[in-house]
Amino acid sequence: MGRYLARRGAQAVLVLWAAYTLSFVLLSALPGDAVTNRIQNPEANISPEGARTLLAYYGLDRPLWEQYAHSLVGASRGDLGYSLTTAQPVRELLASALPSTLQLTSLGLVFGVLIAAVVAVATNYAPWRWLRTLTASGPALFASVPTFVAGIVALQYLSFRYGLIPSVDDGTFRALVAPAATLGLVVAAPLSQVFATSIRTTRSQPFVHVLHAKGAREGYIFRKDVLRNSSLPVLTLLGLAFGELIAGSVVTESVYARSGVGQLVVGAVNTQDLPVVQGVVLLSTAAYVLINLVVDLAYPFVDPRILVDGAPRGATRRRARQRSVVVEPAAPRLLPAEVVMP
């Protein structure tokens, strides 16, 4: 386990380094930057000495590889350089924008999972056919509605027509609900699709028929067996959906005029503030890599038969011996505990 974590950690660092280098190469290929633009602007009236000082301050007078080495060393210490437009440290800008975005994305994820669960369960278990058909088309519909359209329509009706939610971010929870729900809709598209399919596949497994034959009720089987067995693919997707969450939050923050990392990056793109763009890319890549690592580590807790790096968890090993369930690496057969029980 320790060695596995160390290896995954090293991989994550490598990926971060590559992402940083890639964004540096992409952005340094740019012909101008905000500082040079400011110096060349005749209205700014900057003296040649002032210009030289300014360039030296941002390290823009040095050769490119030196800039790269310097910024990489800085980034590894958590120093992401300074914004070219406001001269504030990028780290401070990120730190002040992050809480709002974290609130938005985490509540958005909660909404997404809730919507996905409702749609998936209704698609499989709804007592009426029309409701099953209706919810079955939910994922395709969610995937076809761009975030900005959902957000604008929600704002238009909920806020301006019916006055249910504030139209600007006043820091209250009420102002957070609509943006988070908008974001949830985006994430719900892939989640509900996979969850619904997964429940259907699990329900057609032989052990579910056995449980039915033994007289277990539908609700009991769902809670005890189907839910857990069908949540693995959803867990995988949860890590991947984080990318959607970030993309969605950029647009959602713009629609609802919320300050946050998304607004920060859009503003930085408009002013060619490269260190800020790079900082946001690095931060979100780090979060993305970290979340997928957490998801990978969470697998054995959902399905004890999955091994982390060839060795089952201690508890799993003990349980496996007691029940003499065959532990198969990496390819779990859907075999519930109930069938093994007398």
Binding site: L26, L30, A143
Partner: protein, 303 residues
């Protein structure tokens, strides 16, 4: 069936082969009826194809559908509600919104087409190289794909937009480059599968050149999965390009583009909801139709 009728007139009297041959045909309904029945059973698909066809027509010959000049400013007719004269109303400069949506189809659709083309061509090339030659090249391209996929896609697209500048083509290329990783991964696995297959082994032993094997065995086998990925990515590309334009990073004013139209109308959502509603609904309808067609193709592919 026509041949049966033709030969029926020259067959010897007494023997009449026509009824015997026509019997199964009689039980089967005639072709037009069957076609109609099939269309009736797939009416959602018909609707989706119709939507896409209409929008494609908008993009190719916008003049035939638009009722007004999309750039004609009319100070006297600002912010009019939808009417018989202006189907979708007019915007803050008095421009006809319906005409702007029709003309916007060209930017949105050609942008998505460029994006998917860039993604498919660059991605397939990289994937084919990695899968076919293996070794160091495969490892290098594989790591590159991993890095690309570990940066949240939309942010990567935004970063590339910084590099390329604002504009619909730039946004399209940015989105396309972001998509290369997905295509590369698919093609790599397809090529790998073909390379290890017995028929490629047979072709190698019988002395076919690498180029011939790629052209005659590997490429045809990879086309079907690539096409179905293309249709899937098309819907995503439309959304992403519209989103980039909505953020002001794609199409620039005064050129109409769907995402741009929504963002232009957002200042008036309190009182002039149609300015955002119609362009928004257009995007939803087109993406829904594209995804539906893609779903149908993928399902047919799988069976």
């Amino acid at each position: 069936m026509t041949t049966v009728v033709d030969t029926g007139s020259v067959t010897r009297p007494g023997t009449d082969p026509a009824p015997a041959l026509e019997q199964p045909a009689a039980r089967e309904r005639p072709l037009p009826v069957r076609a109609l029945a099939w269309l009736g059973g797939h009416w959602t698909l018909v609707l989706a194809v119709a939507v896409v066809a209409l929008v494609l027509a908008w993009a190719v010959v916008p003049g035939a559908f638009a009722s007004h000049d999309p750039l004609a400013v009319d100070p006297a007719g600002k912010l009019r509600a939808p009417s018989a004269e202006h189907w979708f109303g007019t915007d803050q400069l008095g421009r006809d919104l319906y005409s702007r949506v029709v003309h916007g189809a060209r930017a949105s659709l050609s942008g998505s087409a460029i994006a998917v083309a860039v993604g498919a061509v660059v991605g397939s090339l990289l994937g084919a190289l990695a899968g076919w030659f293996g070794g160091v090249l495969d490892a290098a391209i594989g790591r590159g794909i991993d890095v690309l996929l570990s940066i949240p896609g939309f942010l990567l697209a935004i970063t590339i937009v910084v590099l390329l500048g604002f504009g619909i083509v730039q946004a399209a290329v940015a989105v396309g480059l972001t998509m290369t990783a997905t295509f590369a991964r698919l093609i790599r696995s397809e090529v790998l599968r073909a390379r290890t297959s017995t028929y490629v082994e047979a072709a190698t032993t019988s002395g076919a050149s690498t180029w011939d094997i790629l052209r005659r065995h590997v490429v045809p086998n990879s086309i079907a999965p690539t096409l179905s990925l293309v249709t899937v990515q098309l819907g995503i590309a439309i959304i992403w390009i519209a989103s980039l334009s909505f953020l002001g990073l794609g199409a620039q004013p005064p050129d109409p583009e769907w995402g741009r139209l929504v963002s232009d109308g957002r200042n008036y959502i309190a009182s002039r909801g149609w300015l955002t509603l119609w362009p928004g609904l257009t995007v939803v309808a087109v993406v829904l139709a594209t995804n539906h067609i893609s779903h149908h193709l993928t399902r047919r592919d799988a069976s």
